[in-house]
Symmetry: C2
Subunit: 237 residues, 2 copies
C-alpha cells in the first residue's frame, strides 16, 4: 500500500429532466472559456465540487436549488464516473482550474438524475443567459463526459421507472391528459405505444384517476384530464 494516492476531487453532476408535452428536456448551464483557439462557449451539466461538511446528496440538492430556486427536487444517485480520461480534453482542465482555483488531476463525479415538472414557474426561474432547458435532440456536444452521463441517466430512469412507475408522474403537471402520459412513456422507452391498449391499461390503474375536467379551447375534441393518486399508488404496491 505504498503507491502514491491520487489527488482526486469529488464532484456531483445533475441530470435534471423535464417534459414539455412533446419531448424530454435536460437542464444545461452555459460555459465560457478560452483556449489556444480563442474564446469558446459551450454547455455542461449543472454540477459542483462538494464542500466540507456536505453530503453528496446535499451537494446535488444545493446545485439544483441555486439554479432553479426550487428547494426539494427529488434526486436519485445513479452512477459514479471516475475514468482518468474524463479530463483528457485540455480545454476542460484549463476551464476547471480557472473556475475552481484548484489543481486538477482527476475528478470523480457522482451523477444524479432529477425528474421535475417543467411548468412556467420553473422555466422562468432559470436565467436564460446562464442556463437552459434543452430538448434531448438539441443537446449537442457537452463538456467533459457529460454526453455520456446523460446517456447513462436515460438508461437509469428506464430502469427506475420499471421498478417504480410513480416516477413518471414527477415529470407531468398535476393534471395531465392521456396522450401526455403516453407520449412521455414513448419518449422514455423510445418506442411507440398503441393508443387503444394504452387507454385500456391506464383505465385499470387505480392510481391514474380520471377527472371530469377537460381541455378548453382546443381545435379538436377536448381531452380528459387525469391526476396521479399517490396514496392509491403506494397502496397498490
Amino acid at each position: 500500500m505504498d503507491a502514491p494516492l491520487a489527488n482526486n476531487h469529488i464532484s456531483i453532476d445533475c441530470v435534471a429532466f423535464g417534459f414539455d408535452g412533446e419531448n424530454l428536456r435536460v437542464l444545461l448551464v452555459k460555459r465560457n472559456g478560452s483556449d489556444q483557439g480563442g474564446e469558446f462557449n459551450d454547455m455542461k451539466l449543472p454540477g459542483s465540487l462538494i464542500y466540507q461538511d456536505e453530503d453528496l446528496d446535499e451537494a446535488a440538492s444545493r446545485v439544483l436549488r441555486e439554479l432553479t430556486g426550487v428547494k426539494d427536487l427529488s434526486l436519485t444517485q445513479f452512477k459514479a464516473f471516475g475514468s482518468k480520461d474524463r479530463t483528457r480534453n485540455p480545454r476542460d482542465v484549463h476551464w476547471l482550474e480557472r473556475a475552481q482555483k484548484v489543481k486538477v488531476e482527476r475528478i470523480v463525479t457522482i451523477a444524479y438524475f432529477s425528474l421535475v415538472k417543467l411548468d412556467r414557474n420553473l422555466e422562468k426561474a432559470v436565467d436564460p443567459s446562464t442556463a437552459e432547458w434543452r430538448s434531448l435532440a438539441e443537446v449537442g456536444t457537452l463538456a467533459f463526459d457529460h454526453n455520456l452521463i446523460i446517456e447513462e441517466a436515460l438508461k437509469a430512469i428506464r430502469r427506475e421507472t420499471d421498478n417504480n412507475r410513480s416516477l413518471l408522474f414527477d415529470l407531468l403537471p398535476k393534471k395531465f391528459t392521456a396522450s401526455q402520459l403516453r407520449m412521455l412513456t414513448e419518449r422514455i422507452y423510445d418506442k411507440p405505444l398503441d393508443v387503444r391498449n394504452f387507454h385500456k391499461k391506464i383505465s385499470q390503474l387505480p392510481y391514474v384517476v380520471p377527472l371530469e375536467e377537460r381541455q378548453q379551447g382546443v381545435a379538436h375534441r377536448a381531452a380528459r384530464y387525469y391526476r396521479f393518486d399517490r396514496k392509491a399508488y403506494t397502496g397498490s404496491r
Copy 2:
C-alpha cells in the same frame, strides 16, 4: 463558490458474491485494530483507496486480484456512498488513519459487485487468516457502512439479473443441476419457486442446455447436469 472544498478521499469497495450450492456468500477481510476498549477483531469488505493513474474499475480489479489471485473477475459499479457519517465511528477513523497513514475527513467509496464461481480453486486462494467467504446469514456487523453496502449490492444484483439473466451463471459451476440454478434464483430473489414451473421454464430457454451427464454417488435419483451456452444467450437477445 468560496466555501472550503472537502478534503475527501476516494476508495472503492468490492462485494464479491459466491454461491456454495446452498447459500450466497460474500468475501470479507479481517480487520485488527485497537481503541479505548482494547484490541478488536472484526471484518470488512475488501477495498482500497485509489492510486494515482488508476481508474476506479482498475482499482476494484486490483483489490480482488490481490486477494484471490484471479485476474479478470467481472466487476460492476453499482453505487457511491458518500454520507458524512460513514466515518462516524471513531474506531473506523482511527483504524483508517493508522492503516493508510492519511488524515481522514471523509471517504467517498464507489462500490462494485462481482459474481464469481466459488470453486475449490478460489476457496484455496484466499488465506483464511486474512479473508473468508461468509454466508450472508453469518456476516455480522461490519466496519463502516459495509452492511449497508451489501444490502444495496443485493438490490443491485436483483436489478441487474432482471435485465441480463446471463449474470446468474457467473455464480454457478460450468456444469450445474436444475436445483442448483433454482436455489440460486431463490436466494437472490428471496422467494420460493415452484419446481415444476421452474423445469418447464428452463426447458424452453435455448441457453440452458441439458447434458447427458448426471450426478454420481448420490443417495437419491441422480440429477441431470446443464450448461450455460453464452452464444445461444447473446443470440436470443
